[in-house]
Symmetry: C2
Subunit: 417 residues, 2 copies
Amino acid sequence: MRQSKLFTKTRREAPADEVAKNAQLLVRAGYIHKEMAGVYSYLPFGKKVLEKIEQVVREEMDAIGGQEIRMATLHPSENWKQTGAWDGVDVLFKLQSRTEKEYAIGQSEEEIVTPIAREYVQSYKDLPVAIYQIGQKYRDELRAKSGIMRGREFTMKDMYSFHETQEDFDRFYTLAKESYLKIYERLGLVAKATEASGGAFTKKLSYEFMVLTDAGEDDILYCEHCPYCVNAEISNQKEGDTCTRCNEGALARAKASEVGNIFDLGTKYSNDFSFTYKDKEGKDQFPIMGCFGIGISRLMGVIVESFGDEKGLVWPAAVAPFAVHLVSLGKDNDDVCKAADALYDDLVKAGVEVLYDDRDARAGEKFADSDLLGIPKRIVVGKDAVATGQFEVVDRATGAVEKVSREALLKSDFNSK
Amino acid sequence: MRQSKLFTKTRREAPADEVAKNAQLLVRAGYIHKEMAGVYSYLPFGKKVLEKIEQVVREEMDAIGGQEIRMATLHPSENWKQTGAWDGVDVLFKLQSRTEKEYAIGQSEEEIVTPIAREYVQSYKDLPVAIYQIGQKYRDELRAKSGIMRGREFTMKDMYSFHETQEDFDRFYTLAKESYLKIYERLGLVAKATEASGGAFTKKLSYEFMVLTDAGEDDILYCEHCPYCVNAEISNQKEGDTCTRCNEGALARAKASEVGNIFDLGTKYSNDFSFTYKDKEGKDQFPIMGCFGIGISRLMGVIVESFGDEKGLVWPAAVAPFAVHLVSLGKDNDDVCKAADALYDDLVKAGVEVLYDDRDARAGEKFADSDLLGIPKRIVVGKDAVATGQFEVVDRATGAVEKVSREALLKSDFNSK
């Protein structure tokens, strides 16, 4: 896209009311707009990043058999009363209609998905089933100071699965755990699965997925040899101890941010909604249920916190709004301008996602904006490039500079993740 | 996709609590699930249809320069108080947080988009700009009996544009009007633009887009010669009268459903939010604003009402969840089954969107389900097809049957809209 057509602009100063690095950089770069504490609109580039993250998550959910739907966000209070969460969940937003009906706004969807599954699952032959959605969630948070990492409105992928037996549940639980680790890896993050308590949902064990980042709110201990990982707060072990699981590796300590969780919900919700199926013997049974969440907008915030530097955003290729930032140093209709126009057209034809800075602005301003926007590769078209046919390609993350011929540029696989 | 993997099922009987044809058919076919009056979840096929409609709308909005964002749904009450709509709009849902802050839930986004535009538009050089989103909206309706055609929660595309002059506004208004008519045409609908009053938003004239359908709630008069069209209720003309615009055609009367509207909002919102830009002379001016809405889920309902028949849904190719319904009459691992499996694989490889009925069910049940699901083309694989190499292709809308060879099937352009 031509940057001259983009309605957003960058700004030099971080907004005074933002303390979180993710919000500061994203607002400065014009990716998001703050509506109030914990509520943001996603502007063209912010929306693109969300969609890239969503697509990675969608592909991995589909790969393990998830079926995507769109659940309602406005919920009848009856469903929430049936599970005890109407009075039991303090972050639940409630409202009343003109006709004095009470509604909840979705902060999770067990109360909606369980009756949906009940509608279609009658027999053991209909199990297992995994249903997910990607959509908005709402939480009545007392404080919201972490930018897009903990919002009153946020985007989440939530999957719910239903099973005949604990064995089948465990099989899927493991599959989902692997799928989660694959998602984080595709997004350029290093994540660990820690065991945690189930919180409000269940007394059973659950997994939290923690991304190693210096900006993390949590401290974790993880084994350098096996996948063992635990929240340092609930562990009586310390850095350097020998791992109690493999008895081989030493425990390392690191800052981390939670970016997903999976819960064994047992039969709580099937019980609450009288959801039974006929087993092989024709007897009524309650399915075992799991819940698998990933905060999409939170993940975007964690990515900014993990990779952003003093110059601005730094996007991993898999989630960058564009693969290439083509920066023209030409003016009006000079040769540089024409060469940049032609290269833009050819890159687009070659299927490369290009942001083209065709604005009438100084080189210094363009480079500063380019650094702030954080697109993985910058191609500079100046007089030198036109004279030599060699284009400067700058890697945003490392700052490494290469000279590349026009032909080689058009053959480069910039979109590869 | 293999139908045996789908978690939804069809049902023979329409739900007792649905009076609208669209909801009856969509629930029976497993496209939607009712949460309460006016609120539905969209199951896998329903979600696919919504996405197809959204994609057509998105392409046409992008084509006229619209920039897509995702606006927040949870709004600070301050914005709504600033425009007078906090107390003036009766369908606005309001809620209170634990900290006693008041929020609105978006039923429209002027209150959010105007401050966003104000943030980035400083000069006449930044105009015009058109910003849109596709997302959920909420209305506190007293009654909701029209299925997905008028919901308390629904999906909408809303675009907002800002202009320097009335001339530039009119230019874009005309462009958007043409774009809307193109959208309806791509969706297989015949739509007319009628002049209407601006309603709650503005005293200026606005356009309503009416789809001709016997299920429509409105009566319109339209000229058979020129584009003139008017709501019969506000007209003192009648069927058969000579058109007062072209003085050539005769007026016809028809039932119609509203599927979109565009408003000239003037400078109301720029005034309310003190949104000014510097004109060429450096003087502060208020931009002129337009609002352009299309109800996405409503449009899905209108399509069902327009084309659905006594056997079930009938989707135009552009919005069908799949292009082809491949129905295998084979059992277990017999030759018919193998032939259907192989044809499914080859169609998928050829890029065709196929739903494959690989279930172990009777032919009569499969055909009834196929009619109910409404996929445009049905390919039947039975013993005859295997023996002769000629496959029966049934057109859902017309019932027309063709015999087509396997080679020709694989070369057919089923996905073409």
